[in-house]
Each structure stands twice: as C-alpha cells, then as structure tokens.
C-alpha cells in the first residue's frame, strides 16, 4: 500500500477523497448484466479461430508464427528458382537478412502480451517506417543487369506482375499476424508492414528482373500499398 509520507498533504488529500465519496451507489444488476455480456463475448470468441489462437500463451503464439514463417520460407525457397549465384551479392544477402529481422521484430510486437504496458507509439511507427524504408533501399541494390540477358521482360507489365505476386504473398502473413494479435495498438499497421516485407523477401529472392525502377515499382510498392492501404481501411473502419 502507499506510504503515508508519499501522500499529498491533508487539504489536497481531503479534496481527492471527495471523488471517492461520490462513487456510484450499489449497482448489482448493472454488474450482473455486464458480466453476462462479457461471458457471452468470451464464449463467442472461443468458438472462432482467432479467439482460439489469441488465447494460446504468448510463447505458443510466437512459436506458431515463427514455424509458419519458416515453413513458408523454406518451401518457397526450394519450390521456386532463386536468382543465379552471380546475382547473390552482399547487398542481396543483406536485404534478405534485414527483411527476416524486420519480420521477426514485427511478430514480437504483434504478439506482445496485453498485460504488459503497451509499447510507445513511436516504436510501432518506427518499425513501419523502417520496414517501408528497407524495401526502398533494397530497390537501389538491384541484381546486375548482365544476369537478365535471358529474361524477356516487358517493363511496366512485369512490375505490375511482381507487385501482384508480392501482395498475394503478403496477405497470408497479414492474416496470420492479425489472427494472433490480442489487440495491440497499431498492430494492424505493424502487420501490414510485415506483410509488405514478406512479399519483398520472396520477390528479392526469386525475381531476376534487374533495375531499380522495376524494384521500386514492383517490389517496394508492395510494402507501401499494404501500409497505406490497410492504414486507410482501419482509419475508416476502426477495429473494435
């Protein structure tokens, strides 16, 4: 309990006490109704996939997300051709590692337990900004043009195709992170940034089309579309 010496002096204390004096009268029925509503809401939530996943322990939720990321990443890596060895520059590797780190950070933020103080907004906003920024920086490290001799690519059309693929690949990542999010502030934006980064990871690993303009239009745009698009959607339709 509080130490008496820490309390404000008698005059102020007396006034503050008045606020307790005007507390509500007995509201037994009100609490009964409130509890019934909460219980119904909990029962309804338990019957949904999101409710089931969100009620797993934080360790279990994190393991689940990491496992799904790992399975998808490994399956994709071997299922589709990765760019040639000559194209795997230090920058290319650094981009992939940075995307992985950002994905893991986003996962930790989204799955943060709600009984801990909420993270300051600037941390979530910074992660989103860094994620979008990283995809843009990665676009300035394209694969060497010499490697693209075998590829007949049609400029804007291919950028559009890459963007479409990136967006499609990001959707399951976004959905998964939303399913395990217990309601952290800005969790939707962090999940959107993670989806964009995941799309960029796959495109960076597999897309052999060279050129900064292609990577900006077809790759980096994925993260931007996710963040801006879903940010606007949540602004218009705020989640509960």
């Amino acid at each position: 309990m509080t130490d008496a010496s820490d309390r404000p002096d008698a005059g102020l204390g007396e006034r503050l006490r008045e606020l307790d004096a005007v507390a509500m009268p007995d509201r037994g029925q009100l609490f009964e109704d409130m509890f019934s509503e909460v219980k119904a809401q909990c029962d309804k939530s338990d019957r949904t996939l999101a409710g089931f996943l969100r009620s797993r322990s934080t360790a279990a939720r994190r393991m689940l997300v990491l496992s799904i990321f790992a399975v998808l990443g490994i399956a994709g890596w071997f299922a589709f051709p990765v760019i040639d060895v000559e194209g795997r520059s230090v920058q290319w590797t650094a981009s992939l590692v940075a995307f992985c780190i950002l994905l893991v950070l986003a996962m930790f933020m989204v799955t943060r337990p709600v009984h801990l103080p909420a993270l300051p907004r600037w941390q979530s906003v910074s992660l989103v900004a860094v994620a979008v920024g990283a995809t843009i920086v990665a676009a300035f490290w394209p694969i060497p043009a010499a490697l693209s001799a075998a590829h007949d690519h049609g400029g804007g059309f291919m950028a559009g195709a890459c963007m479409g693929v990136g967006l499609l690949l990001g959707v399951p990542v976004y959905a998964l992170l939303r399913l395990v999010d217990r309601g952290n502030a800005l969790g939707n934006l962090v999940a959107a940034a993670a989806a964009g980064v995941a799309g960029n990871f796959v495109l960076k690993a597999h897309c052999a089309i060279p050129g900064t303009s292609h990577e900006l239009l077809g790759h980096a745009s994925v993260a931007l579309v996710f963040v801006v698009g879903l940010g606007l959607v949540h602004r218009w339709i705020p989640s509960k």
């Binding site: 309990m1 005007v22 801990l116």
Partner: protein, 188 residues
C-alpha cells in the same frame, strides 16, 4: 450474484482455477475487480457507458490472455495494466478523431442523478483539475491515490521506473494543489 464457497480465495488462486477451466472463478474475479475498474475508468473517461465498455473489454482481454498467467504472478497489476492500456488507446483514438471539448463536456458528470448539488460542483471542479494534468501524471494519481497501489506496482503497470513514477506523482500533487489552492483555503 450467488455466493461462492471460494469467496475468500486469493485473486491468484481464482485466476489459476479459471485457467484450469473453472468459469465460476471468472465470475468471482469479475465481482471483485469490476467495481474497482469501473471507478478507475470513470474517473479517467467521465463517461459511464464508455467506462463500462472498457471494464468489459478488460475482462475480455484477461480471458484471452489467461494462458499467459503463471504461478507466482500477481493478478492485480495484470488487470490494471490491461485497463490502463485500453484507456490510453481510447484517448489516442479520440485525439486522432479530434473530438471537440464540447462533446467531452456533454458526456461528463455521470453522477448527476444521485449526487447532491454542492458535491457535484466540487466533484466537477476536482475532475477539471485532474483533467488538466498530463495523462502520464493523471494515471499515476489514479493508481497511487485512488487505488492505493505502491509505487513499485504502479511502475510495473505504466511501464516505467519507480523513480519516474515518484517524480510524476510529486509533480501531479503539486500541480493539483496549485489548481485547487483557492478552494482549499476556503475550506480552512
């Protein structure tokens, strides 16, 4: 609500029982904490309906987070932290929507139907003074004075150091005293 033989059990025992699937324990926890949380949220929000909604959301989140509860943990900081996070989130959204002060005022004075006039006026004055405190100081006053929580626990709830909480409390009480000084002199 019907009496339960475990009414004397500790919060932590009830929470452990709830984690093990005992729904009645959840009801007992609600009975214990809902009135405390309602007072806490009403003072922050000055809106009865919203305060009730946040209390319900707190328990909904507690239900969702129940599998994170470990033996040896204290339940009270858990519940308070969830509620304070929700209150902060509410203010953040409200600020974002740029709701006018006029709208806030129309939602105020929830006790109007059962408070004597003088007490209502004094309460409004106090609420006004509390509202003029920065949010970080107001939540410390709320937890320290009204909920009688020790500084160490408040630090855990608001996510800062105990020293910072002491500084905030000191500043808040000094500011409150300055704001109410003329009124206090009138009482003497």
């Amino acid at each position: 609500m019907s009496p339960d033989p475990r009414a004397g059990a500790s919060d932590e025992d009830l929470m452990s029982a709830y984690v093990d699937g005992d729904d009645a324990a959840f009801r007992l926890l609600f009975e214990r904490y809902a009135p405390i949380l309602l007072r806490l949220t009403r003072r922050h929000l000055r809106d009865d309906e919203l305060a009730q909604e946040i209390v319900q959301q707190t328990f909904f989140r507690l239900h969702g987070a129940r599998n994170d509860f470990r033996q040896g943990s204290k339940l009270r900081p858990w519940v308070m932290t969830i509620a304070m996070n929700l209150v902060r989130e509410h203010w953040r959204r409200k600020k974002r929507r740029k709701v006018t002060d006029l709208e806030v005022d129309t939602q105020a004075a929830p006790e109007a139907d059962f408070m004597p006039l003088e007490l209502r006026q004094r309460s409004a004055l106090l609420h006004g003074a509390l509202e003029r405190l920065p949010h970080s100081q107001r939540e410390v006053v709320e937890l320290h004075w009204f909920q009688e929580r020790p500084y160490a626990e408040i630090a855990q709830i608001v996510g800062t150091s105990e020293g910072a909480v002491r500084v905030r409390a000191h500043r808040a009480y000094t500011t409150l005293k300055q704001l109410l000084v003329s009124e206090i002199r009138g009482d003497e």
